[in-house]
Structures are given as C-alpha cells and as structure tokens.
C-alpha cells in the first residue's frame, strides 16, 4: 500500500510545477498487511526541485534567479560538501563501533545549507546553530581532525573533549547548542553586539522545523524587529523534527512566513547556489539596516534524527532513496560542473580521494589521540580566575579548577 501511495502522488506531482514537499500534505496510514502494524507511512512524494525557485513573504523582490558559479567556487563548494559528507559517514562508522558515544546528529544530505550559507557571508560574520552542528563547525573554520577528536572525546578535540558533538566552538561560531530553540535568542544577542559595536557584521541564527514552534523564537522575532538587529533567521526545514513530520507538529508549515512582520524567503536547500544567493540577499538586507530577515531552506537529512534513530519508522526508505537519487546536493553540483565543462571527472575524483585521505587521517588521529588528562576535569569553570578547590565525589577528594 505504501508503494501504491507513492506511485499515485508521484504521478500527480509531475503535473504540478510547484516546489517540492508542498503538494498534498501527508496522509498517515498504518499498513497491517505489510506485517508492520505500527508503521506509519507518509504519502508525500518528492518532485524534482525547480532550480532557483524562491517563495517570498513581504518582499517586493528576492534574490536573483540566476547565479554565477566560478570554477574555483565550484571546486571549493564541492570539496567542502564532500568533506562534510565523508566526515559524517565516518562518524556513523565510529559510532557503530562505539568509539563515539552519546548523542550524534548527522548532517549528511544537508551539506548545501552550511556551504551555501558560508558562501553568502564572511568569516567575520557570526553564526550559531543547534545540535546538528558538525558541518557548520567545519565551514566556520574548524578542522576535520579536531571535530572528529571531539566526537571521540580526546584531548585534541576542538573543545578538548569537554564538549562533545553538540558543543563545538570556533571564532565567531557559537556552537553547537543542545537545548532546542535556545540558540535563536543567543544569536540575536550576538547580532545586538554587532549593532552596538557598529562593526557592520551580522549573525546567522539557525534552527530546524522542530524548533520553529518554540516560543522563545517568537520572542526573538519581536525584539530583533523592534531593535532592527542584523540577524538572519534560517530555518533548515528537513521535514522531520526527530520522528514528527512537519504536518504533525506545525499548524503552519510555511516557516518562512512564521516571522509574520519579518520578511521571509523560501529556497531549495539542496542547491548550494540557491542557498548562497539567498544568503547574500539576506545579508544585504541586514547590512543595509533594515533589520531581521527569515530564510527557510528546504532540505533533507539521510540519517535519522540521531544515531539512535534508524530514521525509517516515520518515513519510508523509498522517500530517502528518492531524495538521494534526485536531489543530492553533491551530485547536483557535480552534474552542473561536469555538464558545463567546469571540471573533469578525474579532477573531481582526485578531490574525492584527497577528501577520503583527510577523513582517514583525521579518524586515525581521533582514535589514537589520548583522552583528556584527569587534571582537566575541573578546569574551565571560570574565566580569568585564580585556581580554586572543587569538591570531588567524596569530601576527601579535593580537586583543583584552573581557568
């Protein structure tokens, strides 16, 4: 019955020139005949993305519908996306080997968002996101080595093994935040600092479709607009908040409109150029002093919510496969470059090989670097402070904290 549904809605979708995912919403069914009485299937089909399609809210005009990609940019985006992809897949492997523990939320499928956004801003701008943060840690200047070593909890990790998957920081990148939605007001605070200091910088604050209903985000919309803060709100809509599809969580799934009085735009988050052009447009809006703007990126994650979620109880393998075959961000960029003679297959293969090696080396480091020293247990409680005593597990265990 799942197959039939997909077939039907796919046929219907071919007649529509609408953007993906919109169509008819999803119909939730149980399939007792399939012997999976508790399985829920979505009838959503996946139409091909129309490139450079942009939906606007309270905007007279949007980003340009065409974009120029130089060879250099293309190769850079390709390499970065491929690096994120392979890094996340390696993390998957290491997690299954129990070398990575706890929470691990993987970003494969969404690479065009992180890479495209970075293409539209500079490293002197600021960015904050939630827990699906490995890709951003990379685009914001972290290295694969220090990211992987953080995942494996080693002293060479980007947070010296103290933070883990959800708490990685670099210059002008404020994590990595574990509490859904909390990062959005934080991002507005960073934007307030930009305006206060008059440095023409802005802050990109990301959140997912799951977080989009958080009250504190609406509080942030309000204050950012009142005070005209240079903030770009970006909703990475990957269709599912953990196991809950957007239709089941949100009375309105038009996340780009949820800012109400804040102008918004919705673009294809699988197309790195769309993301870049939209980000540039949004950045111009902010820097011209107009205040906040909201972007919705329609994207998809191949993995489940985290490594403890197989990701197939609330969506079908067919859906995942369809996205992979029709809208993979890396394949899309690759095809574009090849068909426009911007690169050769061999060249791209060489990049793949180099990336593979980089990941292997990083994994090697991440699995052999020692864990943090026990002396580090209590350090980094306070900044710029004298060392002080910390109570251990018993009254006789006296530990020391240094800054």
């Amino acid at each position: 019955c799942v197959d039939q549904l997909l077939e039907v809605s796919y046929v219907l979708s071919q007649g529509c020139s609408l953007h993906p995912f919109s169509l008819f919403g999803s119909v939730l069914l149980t399939c007792p005949t399939a012997g999976l009485a508790s399985m829920v299937a979505s009838s959503r089909s996946y139409a091909d993305f129309t490139p450079e399609k942009v939906d606007l809210h309270r905007l007279e005009e949007g980003p340009p519908l065409t974009a120029t990609l130089t060879r250099e940019e293309g190769l850079k985006y390709y390499r970065t996306m491929q690096t994120i992809r392979r890094m996340e897949l390696k993390a998957d492997q290491l997690y299954k080997q129990k070398i990575i523990r706890g929470f691990c939320h993987l970003y494969d499928g969404q690479e065009a968002c992180a890479v495209g956004i970075e293409g539209g801003i500079t490293l002197s701008d600021h960015l904050i996101t939630a827990y699906r943060a490995h890709g951003y840690t990379l685009t914001r200047g972290g290295t694969v080595r220090e990211i992987m070593a953080e995942l494996t909890g080693r002293r060479g990790g980007i947070a010296k093994g103290k933070g883990g998957s959800m708490h990685m920081y670099t210059k002008n990148f404020y994590g990595g935040n574990g509490i859904v939605g909390a990062q959005v007001p934080l991002g507005a605070g960073v934007a307030l600092a930009c305006k206060y200091l008059g440095n023409d910088q802005l802050c990109v604050s990301l959140y997912g479709d799951g977080a989009a209903n958080q009250g504190q985000i609406f509080e942030t919309y309000n204050m950012s607009s009142l005070w005209k803060l240079p903030i770009i709100f970006i909703c990475e809509n990957n269709q599912y908040g953990m196991g809950t599809s957007v239709e089941r969580s949100s009375a309105s799934t038009e996340y780009y409109k949820r800012g109400d009085y804040i102008p918004g735009l919705r673009v294809d988050g699988m197309d790195v150029l769309c993301v870049r052009e939209a980000t540039k447009f949004a950045a111009d809006h902010c820097r011209s002093g107009k205040g906040p703007i909201l972007m919705e990126l329609q994207t998809y994650r191949y993995h489940g919510h985290s490594m403890s979620d197989p990701g197939v109880s609330y969506r079908t393998r067919e859906e995942i496969q369809e996205v992979r075959s029709k809208s993979d961000p890396i394949s899309m960029l690759k095809d574009r470059m090849l068909s426009n003679n911007m690169a050769s297959i061999e060249e791209l293969k060489e990049i793949d090989i180099a990336v593979r090696k980089e990941i292997e080396d990083a994994a090697q480091f991440a699995t052999t670097d020692p864990e943090p020293p026990l002396d580090d247990l209590c350090s980094h409680i306070f900044a710029n402070d004298q060392p002080f005593e910390v109570r251990g597990a018993t009254p006789w265990t006296k530990l020391t904290s240094t800054s």
Binding site: Y169, A182, P185, W227, D376, A383, N384, S403
Partner: protein, 343 residues
Amino acid sequence: LQVCAFLLRSGFTEMVVNVRDALNQAMDEELERDERVFLLGEEVAQYDGAYKVSRGLWKKYGDKRIIDTPITEMGFAGIAVGAAFAGLRPICEFMTWNFSMQAIDQVINSAAKTYYMSAGAQPVPIVFRGPNGSSAGVAAQHSQCFAAWYGHCPGLKVVSPWNSEDARGLLKAAIRDDNPVVFLENELMYGVPFDLSEDVLQKDFVVPIGKAKVERRGTHITLVSHSRCVGFCLDAASVLAKEGVECEVVNLRTIRPLDVDTIEASVMKTGHLVTVEGGWPQYGVGAEICARVMEGPAFNYLDAPAVRVTGVDIPMPYAKILEDHSVPQIKDIIFSVKKVLNM
C-alpha cells in the same frame, strides 16, 4: 554621585546611602568605566526601574546602553547571554527572580555551562540581577528565594548582598567579573540606609566575590546568614548580649562559592552554629552549610548539632498575620540560639 563628590571634597568622609542608591551608583560608575557594559530588562529605562534601582541611567546613557525589553524573559535573557558571547558585558535585570524561572535555561545551560563546554574558548561575562526572596504582601508566586536553586550550579557565581557596602562592592565586582554572576537583591532592603566610608565610595571599591564578612565578633555561638536575615541576626545578637550571650554574626555575602573557611574558623571558635535564611529549608543554603561543617574540621569543635532557621516550608500566604509567620523572625533566632546553647 555629584553630592558625594562635593561632600568628599568638603571633608566629609562618610555618606549615608541606601541599598537602592548604592546599586544605582555602582551601575552608573561601571557604565561610565567600560563602554561594553549595558543594562537591559523590563522598565529599566524610561520607567527608571520597577523599583527605581536604575533611576537616571537612561537619561544619562540613552537607548543604546539602557534597554527596555518586552515582557519576554526567555528571549531577552538569551539575547543578553548572546551579547556576552560576542564581547559585551550585559547586566540583565529580572524584575524579580521569580520571573527568572521563565529564562532559567538561558542562565544555566547557555550562560553557566558554556565556558566549560567550550574548554575555555567562550567566556560569558554577564550579570543577572534583581530582587529575590520575600517582599511584603506579594504572595506565593512573587516571594520565592532562589539562592539554593542557583547556588547549586557549577559555572555560576551567586551573590546575596545585605547592606549598601555589600550591594555596591559586590555589584562592581560582579560587573567586572568575566563570568556569569547571579546577583540576588532584596526589595525590602532597597530603602534601608547605611553609612558608607570614604574607602567604600571610591570608584574602584569592590567586595571580593567568595569572601564572607564577620559583621559582629562573638564567642558563644556562630550565626551564619545572607541578605536581609543578616540584619535580623544582628538584632537578635543585641538582645542576646543583654543575657550574656555573645553571638558571632557571619554575613555570607556570596552563596557560591561558599566561604567555608570563614564559617569553619568561627565555628571552631564558638563551638555552636545556627544558620539563618529566608528560603525554604529543604535542600537550602543552611542545609549546605551544615553538611560542609559536618564534613570538615569544624565538626569536632561542635558542642551541639548545628541547626537551621529558615522560611516556613509553604508557599507564601498573603494575609499579613500569615506572612509574618512564614518567615524567620528575630524571636525564632533567639529561640534557636538558646536551644543550641541549652539555655
């Protein structure tokens, strides 16, 4: 402040300043000293502060540095923390600490833990301040003491001033500290005047965070307290002195880190301990003090079990007679001292 300066120049070495003005002057001086310091909260600007603690600051510093927020604690506390991430030094006011519960995730998870999670990459130089604990007739939802709640969490410094010197010095210390500080004021203390010496009125006067002060020396029993209850302890001590009991009164000033050394030294001298707080007894400040004394060298000097005087373990009632009986009174302190001393 101009009056202060005039009087100082004219040879007056002391000033009478109430707690509200002490806080106001401290903020004014710190705003002037460091461009990155700013104040945000409900009614802090054009209303001059719900309790007038920020009177005159908006007029002097303007919209950029004194910011009125909408009634959205979670949002503006998060914004304040984000501003601290990016290098500013915010003072985030909660109109009372009861409303901080709406924003407590930002205080604990975004502010307190970040320096640790980032292994020292991201300091958070922020002060959260506002009135804490019971007031008068404001009933259950507006009367809770949060000293134990915030005092529980590593990554926070938690201070609770009693008098004007505490208020001035601790607020300056808090603003100059590169870490998140929870600053627990007391509404009923705002209007209480105290003498401030010339030293205290200096612009760089700070009270170190983490050091308690012995307000009154004594030999028979140690009373440890914070905030408004320190005054009650001193009043109880005066009454008890007439009966020949000399109380040593320790003003904690800081809840976290707790100055265990000063408490232990006092207990080792007097052999008796009573803690006094306005908050509820279970898992409270007094409970922590007693546990620490048990675990340390001072235990062997105790001639009687240590005892706590606390708020009554109920939501705060409204009717005056009920409210009066919900908080520790001077007679409760005297009664407990006599019990502990077996008088």
